[in-house]
Point group: C2
Chain length 981, copies 2
């Protein structure tokens, strides 16, 4: 609006304009201005945005407008959500069952959880600019190994229940004897874990037998493995030494679900022979968050090291021989395992693993032990004191933090629960006569114990004759049986013993953060990963207590805020995807795939076609697709792609017809992972439907669809949504994420159920639970909710258009220098495109990795390397990048092309050149023994802005061969760092 003119003038604004809030969001989210968009369109030869879009998105799939949701301003949306979430009631939780109150140390809250430096990076694919979080994740592994007493640990899984299921997989897959297809699960395992294990067992042909572990009939010889909980869900701590012996005698494997805090004072499972130890790191500083996200852990014996699910950080070295960390076995993630995979885990819980280990570092081993002892001591005082009430029987003998109360009077348990709720206290209801009471860092207090005594007093009608302090004064015995007390030290590495003051911790966190390239520093143009803005107003609610302090199994009435938010979110996601119903249970894209295929499978079985087990998957698919299919017990049949990157229709037809009788489904990604809106998608879908199959759509590329077309609209039956891509949940350096699925009407009844689903909407047909909590990572849903509220439909559609515009803008700038693999019929790409690097190899020796690493010298994170096509780079800018950044990236790529030409022309050495030696650390370019044939400044400052704005990789190029040969997955001794070259 122009400045005031020189005459007194009337209001120029309409009332709507005048009263509109000034803090609208879409223009903040989208990185290019309207004016810039117009110029970019002109440059591409389009007059309007619609011109570009209709040239790109096939007309047949264009959608009807979404149900109109008006955008809210940032402040409005935040205020409304706060009001909504304040309907959640925060009671003191003694529920336990895998979720405990914990105090996130403020320095960790602010500097990790609330810090874009930690929450915006991607999975550390580019190790040289990720050494900070790699170090923290290595710390996590070391902590887990130490506490569990195991040889190796990964750097997180999605939750304890799926970790247990992964353990079952490992047991089953490494069974050596025939007929070992029963997985024995103790009835003392957390119910949600049992539920998920059951879900995951059926399709792979494992029978789950749930009985008390004292009743396992292992002599039958059919056990692929056994699962026990230590301490058990009812609190009991059993000595599993004998069981372990037995298990191994019959050639089976012992999986122990355990608790990190308990392990600070309990003998670690490694010491009684566990093969695998799983559990949750939640209570190490990660808010309960109504279910998640939390980092689960998975630790195993040395012999299982190459069968471990999930990501493992390894210590390797760089090209100068200096120690350098990396994701070990990284490449399997997008490609290698495919249908040979036994796990589909990809996005995990890096941010929460980092939070948990930061908590452990801050407290140190002694601090953790102190907390463990305290929780244990207070539980003991409670157990002892509860005995003063006639009619209350304390069942627990040996326990850590959870007490089992049995009431002699019938239905007394209900009264107890009620009396507690009146005092804003939650206990764990088991049945009419039994209740469990868990203690944790937040409620191991005198007040809490006395409040509980009041509850018992009220119900029994007796006075409190011995309050907590009196009980504590008397000679209470700690109940851990001698043989189970921990005697081995843990976390002895200096990293766990150096940062106990806030100043020291703050500096360590910042030191690590500064090593990593995040969205704070530059664009991360990872194709298929959709690294868009994670806006602050989306992130703010996540750390509100209204979000964080809720136990996932609270009664419905305490979670009204959450439930109402989720109902709205489900409806909006259904509208966006064109589906009938949405499940928020899966907590990653891969989990969504699994859940979706499970729904399809249930549907096929329901209509009496149980043999439909063939899953068609194009070669271009992400590795998680075949992995998920194979976990569902499906047979993967690969479909070719044609030279344009589209599904080879004839090949598809051939395979559909060949497997007509057994066809379960086709999995497709749309737009394809080749970055193309395939014209034939509707025909493809029709073909599959005509032959009895269902169509699963991988929604990883939904960022090119929202508002323009929809999976449901084009006929797909199921689709997952990576909320951590299209819907703004940050990647957290490798997780968390959320992978809800949308389904068409005929599949809605089959959506996953959950033993603790508060909405009880399970139909009889509901399939099993896929996550530990009914809404898995509930506390990050506000991020997507805020995004949708603030963008409104208009903003969402515009975002999609600009994502496509940005990709095409870059494509045009880069195609003069690099061959572009695939485009649509108008020569346009979708929201990403693939540069073919293979042609350079012959003349220059340069491969995609060299370019990826050289980009680091320009302060950039590389595009996706060699996925979906080996020897390529896939670029996805997203709508959030500023035009200047797109230009800066293109400039870097064009300069690199010239650097390749220097080699082609013989002006640069084939081996010793800026690309092969990239990235250049400052150590390298400052070195007094610089011997490269090119100047230092060329290495470090290929463009001028780098002189004043340089992000330095902290290690040289990773030596992968060395890392592959020497798998070291815990913190190396400090001396390793002392021999730096």
């Amino acid at each position: 609006r122009a400045v005031l003119s020189t005459t007194r003038r009337a209001l120029q604004a309409t009332p709507d304009e005048l009263f509109a809030p000034a803090d609208t969001f879409a223009r903040r989210h989208i990185g290019v201005t309207e004016k810039e968009q117009a110029a970019m369109l002109t440059g591409l030869g389009y007059e309007t945005m619609e011109g570009l879009i209709s040239a790109t998105v096939p007309a047949v799939i264009r959608r009807q407008p979404m149900k109109t949701v008006k955008p809210q301003s940032e402040s409005e949306a935040l205020a409304d959500l706060r009001t909504l979430l304040s309907q959640n009631k925060i009671f003191r939780s003694h529920i336990g069952a895998g979720y405990y109150g914990t105090k996130t140390p403020p320095v960790i809250l602010r500097n990790i959880l609330e810090n874009p430096g930690w929450y915006t990076p991607y999975t550390p694919y580019q190790a040289e600019i990720s050494q900070g979080r790699l170090e923290m994740l290595l710390n996590f592994q070391t902590m887990i190994q130490d506490l569990t007493g195991m040889a190796i640990a990964n750097c997180s899984l999605l939750d304890e229940a799926t970790a247990a299921a992964e353990a079952m997989n490992l047991c089953f897959n490494s069974s050596t004897k025939k007929g070992q297809n029963v997985f024995y699960v103790s009835s003392d395992v957390h119910p949600q874990t049992i539920a998920v294990v059951r879900t995951r067992a059926r399709p792979i042909g494992v029978t789950v037998r749930v009985v008390h572990h004292s009743k396992f009939e292992l002599d039958a010889g059919d056990a692929c493995g056994v699962l026990v909980q230590y301490p058990a869900t009812n609190g009991t701590v059993d000595d599993f030494t004998a069981l372990s012996k037995k298990v191994h005698e019959v050639g089976s494997k012992l999986v122990v679900a355990s608790d990190l805090l308990a392990l600070t004072i309990l003998k670690p499972p490694g010491e009684f022979g566990a093969d695998v130890v799983v559990g949750s790191a939640q209570r190490f500083g990660v808010p309960m968050g109504y279910g998640g996200p939390h980092a689960a852990f998975f630790a195993a014996k040395e012999e299982h090291k190459r069968k471990m699910p999930g990501r493992i950080i390894g210590v390797s070295r760089d090209n100068r021989g200096n120690p350098a960390l990396r994701m070990a076995m990284q490449t399997r993630e997008q490609h290698i395992r495919r249908d040979k995979a036994t796990s589909n885990i990809c996005t995990a819980q890096a941010l929460l693993a980092n939070t948990a280990v930061a908590y452990a570092i801050y407290h140190g081993p002694n601090g953790l032990k102190e907390i463990g002892n305290k929780v244990h001591g207070v539980a003991t005082v409670f157990a002892e004191g509860a005995k003063q009430f006639e009619g209350v029987e304390v069942k627990s003998q040996d326990f850590f933090d959870t007490i089992h109360l049995h009431f002699k009077v019938e239905k007394a348990a209900e009264q107890v629960i009620k009396a507690a709720r009146k005092r804003q206290i939650n206990l764990r209801y088991i049945d009419e006569q039994n209740v469990y009471v868990s203690f944790d860092e937040t409620n191991a207090t005198e007040e809490a114990v006395n409040d509980l005594f009041q509850v018992l007093a009220e119900v029994t009608g007796l006075p409190v004759s011995s309050p907590a302090r009196e009980v504590a004064k008397s000679n209470v015995k700690l109940p851990i049986i001698p043989t189970l007390a921990r005697t081995t030290p843990f976390m002895t590495h200096p990293v766990f013993n150096s940062y106990h003051s806030e100043t020291a911790m703050l500096r360590y966190l910042y030191f690590l953060q500064s090593k990593d390239l995040s969205l704070q520093t530059a664009m991360i143009p990872l194709g298929s990963c959709t690294m868009k803005l994670n806006a602050t107003s989306e992130m703010i609610p996540v750390t509100w207590p209204e979000c964080g302090a809720l136990h996932p199994f609270v009664p419905k009435g305490q979670a009204e805020g959450y439930l109402s938010m989720m109902t709205t979110l489900e409806a909006q996601l259904a509208d966006i995807t064109g589906f009938h119903a949405v499940s928020l249970q899966p907590n990653s894209g891969a989990q969504g795939e699994y859940a979706g295929l499970m729904v399809i499978d249930a549907y096929q079985r329901h209509r009496g076609e149980p043999d439909r087990k063939v899953c068609l998957i194009p070669t271009s698919a992400h590795g998680t697709n075949p992995a998920s299919a194979s976990m569902m017990g499906m047979t993967v049949v690969v479909v070719a792609c044609d030279e344009k990157g589209n599904i080879a229709f004839e090949d598809l037809k051939k395979k559909v017809l060949m497997h007509k009788e057994k066809l379960s489904c086709l999995m497709i990604t749309y737009p394809s992972t080749h970055g193309v809106f395939e014209e034939a998608v509707k025909d493809v879908i029709q073909l599959v439907h005509d032959n009895g199959g269902q169509v699963y759509m991988d929604g990883a590329n939904l960022n090119a669809q929202v508002g323009l077309c929809s999976p449901g609209g084009m006929g797909a039956d199921v689709c997952h949504l990576n909320l951590h891509k299209t819907f703004c949940i940050p990647h957290g350096g490798g997780g968390p994420g959320m992978g809800p699925i949308g389904v068409a009407k005929h599949l809605a009844d089959f959506l996953p159920g959950h033993p603790y689903d508060p909405r009880n909407k399970d139909s009889e047909l509901a399939t099993g639970a896929v996550s530990a909590a009914p809404f898995s990572s509930a506390s990050i849903l506000p991020i997507s909710y805020m995004y949708l509220r603030m963008m409104g439909d208009s903003g969402l559609t515009k975002a999609t258009e600009v994502a496509i515009l940005n990709a095409n803008y870059m494509l045009k700038k880069l195609k003069v220098a690099y061959p572009v693999l695939y485009t649509g019929k108008s020569g346009t790409c979708a929201h990403e495109f693939i540069l073919d690097i293979r042609p350079f190899k012959a003349k220059s020796g340069i491969v995609e990795e060299d370019i990826a690493k050289r980009l680091q010298d320009f302060n950039f994170h590389a595009p996706t390397m060699s996925f979906p096509v080996p020897g390529t780079l896939m670029v996805e800018p997203t709508e959030s990048e500023p035009l200047a950044e797109l230009d800066r990236f293109c400039e870097a790529m064009l300069i690199i092309r010239e650097e390749i030409r220097e080699i082609e022309d013989g002006r640069a050495d084939r081996k010793d050149n800026v690309l092969k030696n990239a990235p250049h650390t400052h150590q390298e370019v400052v070195s007094d023994s610089w011997k490269h044939p090119y100047p230092r400044e060329k290495a470090a400052y290929p463009v001028r802005y780098l002189r004043t704005n340089k992000f330095w990789p902290t290690v040289g190029r990773l030596d992968n061969v060395y890392g592959d040969r020497n798998l070291i997955c815990s913190c190396p001794p400090l001396e390793t760092y002392e021999n730096l070259s």
Copy 2:
């Protein structure tokens, strides 16, 4: 505590231990562990901490124990404070009067206000490692210059009222004619501004004459200057062109207090001839915070540039000729001006200036104009609509955002205020028939206007016939008179037109932050500055809405939370200082000095000794001491120090006796700025008291006293406390701070009053207001409050002891290489010590600056340079530094000593050596034309850890001579940066 033994054992903890929270704070705040302390003490030759302390602190001043305050855990203290502050009632504010609702953009909230990278650095004394905030502050200056239309602006003052007082000073001091000692102030200026101007005028002999500006009698020729408000406090926008002409005709100066948002659409004061423009930048994204902290601005004509108060950032160049920013005229801060000073401003409001300009950058000129137009438009709609109510007269004709309502019925105003409050709305009550209603970014809404109409309807008994939307639809005229509409563009520099998306903004903020060395990176051992931990749990409350959303002039009943917190805080500070009463009004140390001297002066006058105007100040005093005294119209008499750093008692005695009749007071710093607990302090105080003087203690060094001794206990009469030193308020890169004063009983009645003091405790004797708001920077008081609550008395005393221990530990390590200037009688220092660098000059040419700059190559911020003694470095570690960091610093200093020796021995060149060329940027060491006689690696990595943990200064050593000659104080054109060498 040990791990469980192998037998079942009884609780080892007492009930107190068992139930104690695990998240205690003192051990997090203090950087060295108990074990390390013991070893350090042994190294120093003491068996116990008490041994060191009694050797260091004179026995005669040791204090009684403090009133016992038990430490609270972090989570308890946070929860309690939240409960307390939730007693504050957050109404919608239409109060205005210099404080307005504003929306802090979340990206700025999280990444500046809540980011230790921005809030923990010190004032940018070391320019090379401060280019980030220097750039932001330069942006601030440029924004102010543009919006006000003035040639030069500083980078913040404490508040609008003191800025106006500074303007009066400038006018008075640059008066050219005799008898120009009247400062005319329009009655339309904000009342708090008038109050502060009055306070500041009296002591310097200026008469303040408050009348409506139409009634200024300038022909009298006695005006040193005039002050008007534009827009006025009642909302009116007057055309001051004629006044300006008149003012200049009579040889006087025009000061305009203005409003940045109004200036987006109003003609800037520079265009009608203002000499000085002052105001507050609060409404640019800085929460009201019950009064502050906010950045005030001060802009002036070119001719006043060397008389500007406060800090000014200038564009200079570095030793390679590249552009580089620095604090222009920096050295005057601690030394130069002293008693010639007309301003004592030192700590200012850097963090808030940065926040405000970030807001402006994010919105850009067009966004700001939009907000300005909107606020103006909605105010217009309200004014128009208010006319529908019979009995309500809209007095305002020409206005920006504030409407003056006059009620025909007597006492109607009270009813209006009441009816509004019922709806949780605050208006500004003027008198029984007059109310002002202000609009801002948060309440320029349809709802707010309609609510106000409801209020008027209720009071007049009439219906709302035209609601806001109806009024807005009709042809409302915007009331700005044509000649006052802004026509000049502003903020045209690219920096204001590039970062409008959140991604772009986030990266710009991070880019700047990364250039600066803060406490996140390393120790900042600035003597006298007490750079201790600013703990997260102290910082968290500051950005709670309960803290931020309160207008400073709300009625008492809406601020119960604040008031109760402040009462507790005052009591604790009184206990700590040994005083009877505390005033929280001064918002910096220097302000405290001023207020304290004012109290002393009032006391002397009260007891009938108005001629006591001599203020004795030792040579070692901070520059603000004499500056404050001279602002109080006192005569400064300097007292010598002896060779041990103590006040030269004989000289003192001589001067006391010489000025016996006129002695007002002595100002001393304790422990002295030489880092010594002077043994004779009680004798010194006695001597002054015996001769009719009072003793003012500068509390900057209170970190060496808390719990061990106290100003009151040793007999001082007044003392200020820098809450931003001893009490954990972060320095914010140069502010905010708080400088409350404590006073002995006989002075309590003289503490500053304030026109809006809600506690109305002004005695008749109260002196005038010294700050714009009654508690000035109220919203940062929770930081100190939290600190005191979490430390408890035991923790506070321990902190002091460790601060002294750390200093002595370093002293011992360093004295082998550097002469230490002063120590106490046992050879110990207090909490800081001075290294004498002067002896090195002759043999090596090395001066203190060379060492300071070389320390940057080691990732360190230099100690305080040349204060209090030229040619020295003063080191203050504080209690928060980890032992490893103390060692790392000492190691650096010892290596530097060896580097000096290389020059002394002729092994290194006298001119071209690592010290003279320090700091080394990466550009320098990577340069292909490196020509220094020493190796690059020696320059960059004098110690091994720097290879993997290097903080790079972003410019080479500043060229101060060039900067002094070429004072450029706004953003230079981009081309400046394009000719980098």
